[in-house]
């Protein structure tokens, strides 16, 4: 069944279909309608879940950490400064290996205040140990929420589902609402290996010493460094799980099939525009126009940012002539974070494309189709070379 709703409602309906049992969130623009919708669904008895209102984002994630530790399927959502206020708890949730799913409705960070879209909020949290997935439209928001719960619970790593504030969150478009029975087949109830239970008290995540030591039963227990190594290795291995889940999802629902990179006219392209989120769809119209001008360019949307799909990136792009990376975020004093990651993924290849970087759309600055086309016309040339500093699009100075 198709419905026409906002991106925030698409996310809420995904959480409902996933049968999350604990939701704790603090409202922040542009995430607010998502949590409002969830509270309505719980209040109306359409969702069998506890909705726990809290006084801050830090507490929202703390509640989810507690609920997840007790074996519940937990969900939260936030944006921008709300995400930053969670920062300490983000690291904790990942270190404690809790399969919490969180929607990050991407918004620029203050100061100065902005409520509009860019990716600085989630990108700045890339090293917290959370998996980060990016959606391009409402269908992907809903589908990615379902895949995120399945992924998080399979690899015991929390997952962020990121989508563009306003551009997706407040825009209405049609999407398919999956059948609840089919979702249950894809996403069985959460059955954790261990969880907090008053009948069987346990200590979780107590102080670990620098070295390994015997645990209460006398077995050698990993130290902090081993635990962190395991998190890293499981993040790397999660890429296989992401692939498998994508295949299974497509078998059941007939959609998707691109776990890491969603290509558009990339096969016969010499140059590829790379970015994350809704911009990769926006670029499709630009690509069609430039193709008519004879420029062999395609567009690719990266769906996974952490773990970084370096092998998929190298396989897809190393034989191209050039990559143009568009980013709504910046590692201040250096370059776009995605740009740096893509260059690193290609470094080991002897025959690699040039890579250029454009920063655009910060704080909701309008991204004009003509500006995208001009940037690609300027970059898609054999004479282009790899840059070490980004150029800016739409900067009025």
């Amino acid at each position: 069944m198709h419905i026409i709703e906002s991106g925030n409602v698409a996310a809420a309906l995904g959480v409902k279909l996933a049968e999350a049992s604990v939701i704790a969130a603090y409202p922040i623009t542009p995430q607010t309608p998502l949590t409002e919708k969830l509270s309505e669904l719980v209040d109306a008895g359409e969702m069998n879940a506890q909705y726990i209102p809290v006084e801050s984002e830090h507490s929202a994630l703390a509640v989810c950490i507690a609920a997840s530790s007790a074996g519940s399927r937990a969900f939260t959502a936030t944006s921008a400064n709300g995400l930053l206020y969670m920062n300490e708890q983000l690291h904790w949730a990942a270190g404690a290996r809790l399969p919490i799913v969180m929607c990050v409705v991407n918004r620029g960070i203050g100061a100065p205040w902005t409520v509009w879209n860019d990716h600085q909020d989630s990108i700045s949290q890339r090293d917290t140990g959370w998996i980060q997935l990016y959606a391009c439209d409402h269908q992907q928001i809903l589908d990615t929420v379902l895949k995120a719960f399945r992924l998080a619970e399979t690899v015991s790593v929390p997952v962020m589902v990121c989508y563009d504030g306003y551009i997706l969150s407040h825009t209405y478009m049609p999407f398919e609402l999956p059948d609840a029975e089919m979702v249950r087949r894809f996403l069985p109830p959460f059955a954790p290996e261990y969880f907090l239970d008053p009948k069987c008290p346990k200590n979780l995540n107590t102080v670990t010493l620098p070295d390994i030591r015997p645990d209460v039963r006398g077995n050698t227990a990993p130290g902090y460094m081993e635990i962190r190594h395991n998190l890293h290795m499981d993040m790397r291995k999660s890429m296989d799980v992401i692939s498998d889940i994508e295949i299974e999802f497509k078998e059941i629902f007939g959609r998707g099939g691109y776990p890491f990179i969603e290509p558009y006219r990339v096969n016969d392209a010499d140059y590829v525009a790379v970015c994350m989120g809704s911009l990769s769809y926006h670029l499709r119209d630009v690509i069609d126009m430039l193709r008519k001008e004879g420029i062999a360019v395609g567009a690719a949307g990266l769906r996974v940012y952490r773990p970084f799909p370096d092998k998929a990136v190298a396989d897809a792009f190393s034989h191209k002539k050039g990559l143009i990376v568009f980013e709504k975020a910046l590692s201040y004093g250096n370059q776009g974070a995605l740009f740096a990651d893509i260059k690193a993924a290609l470094y080991a290849k002897t025959d690699r494309p040039f890579v250029r970087n454009y920063i655009l759309g910060l704080g909701g600055r309008e991204i004009k189709t003509t500006e995208l086309a001009d940037a690609l016309r300027n970059s898609c040339k054999p004479s282009s070379a790899t840059t070490d500093r980004p150029e800016w699009i739409g900067l009025k100075m």
Partner: protein, 231 residues
């Protein structure tokens, strides 16, 4: 023929009941609006996307109107539908607008409309506050909730359609100031893009119970009483 006459009689009876001036205007067989007649602005890459902008006041329901038309457009075969409210610091009574694009295939460009093919104005007094025709494509269409005739407006090279939605809605039993369903009827008549039956069905779906019917009736009567001017 008989059913047709009965239908006409019912409509006329209803109009007399609502004290609305009956305008004997032919229902167009062909859409009045032809995309290919318009010279597209360079900003738009795809020329198959119909771009509409809805002007209202905060709290007036322009977003709901655009959402209903989005549903109806999808229902009538436009599988690509994008409705994007303008984001800012809206407050009740202040001028607001929302964009609605639709096409026969999926729309990938979600950026705001800068060169609409048509604008729909829920309150004619907005014309004094807002340049509703900003960016409007040549020979574009302006649909206005207004008691005046289309000829009363001067928009160089544009077509104007008017309907007294405020009065029709009041006579139709809607609370004062509710014009966002009636204007859909005017949109339907002036553009001929989406059949009025589908628009009315979408209105009934949006408002549960008796209100849905009332709103749909108002849209239908507005449809019959929309005056479309020339260029």
């Amino acid at each position: 023929m008989e059913t047709f006459v009965i239908k006409i009689c019912t409509v006329v009876k209803k109009l007399i009941y609502f004290n609305v001036k009956v305008v004997l205007d032919c229902v167009p067989l062909e859409p009045l609006y032809h995309k290919n007649l318009l010279k597209k602005n360079h900003e738009t890459m795809r020329d198959d996307i119909i771009q509409t902008r809805w002007h209202g006041r905060g709290g007036q329901g322009a977003i709901t109107a655009a959402k209903i038309v989005a549903e109806a457009a999808f229902e009538s075969g436009y599988s690509g539908v994008v409705m994007a409210p303008t984001f800012g610091t809206e407050r009740r009574g202040a001028p607001v607008f929302t964009s609605l694009k639709f096409a026969k295939t999926k729309i990938y460009d979600l950026s705001p409309i800068t060169a609409p093919d048509m604008v729909i104005v829920l309150d004619h007094l907005l014309l004094e506050e807002v340049d509703v025709a900003a960016g409007l494509a040549p020979s574009g269409l302006i649909v206005i909730n207004s008691p005046k005739e289309p000829d009363a407006y001067r928009f160089e090279g544009m077509r104007v359609a008017t309907a007294d939605v405020t009065n029709i809605s009041l006579n139709g039993g809607l609370p004062a100031g509710i014009v966002n369903t009636g204007i859909i009827g005017a949109f339907g008549k002036a553009t001929g893009l989406i059949p009025i039956d589908i628009l009315c069905k979408a209105i009934e779906k949006e408002f549960a119970g008796k209100n849905g019917r009332k709103n749909a009736d108002v849209a239908r009567i507005t449809f019959e009483n929309t005056r479309v001017g020339g260029i």
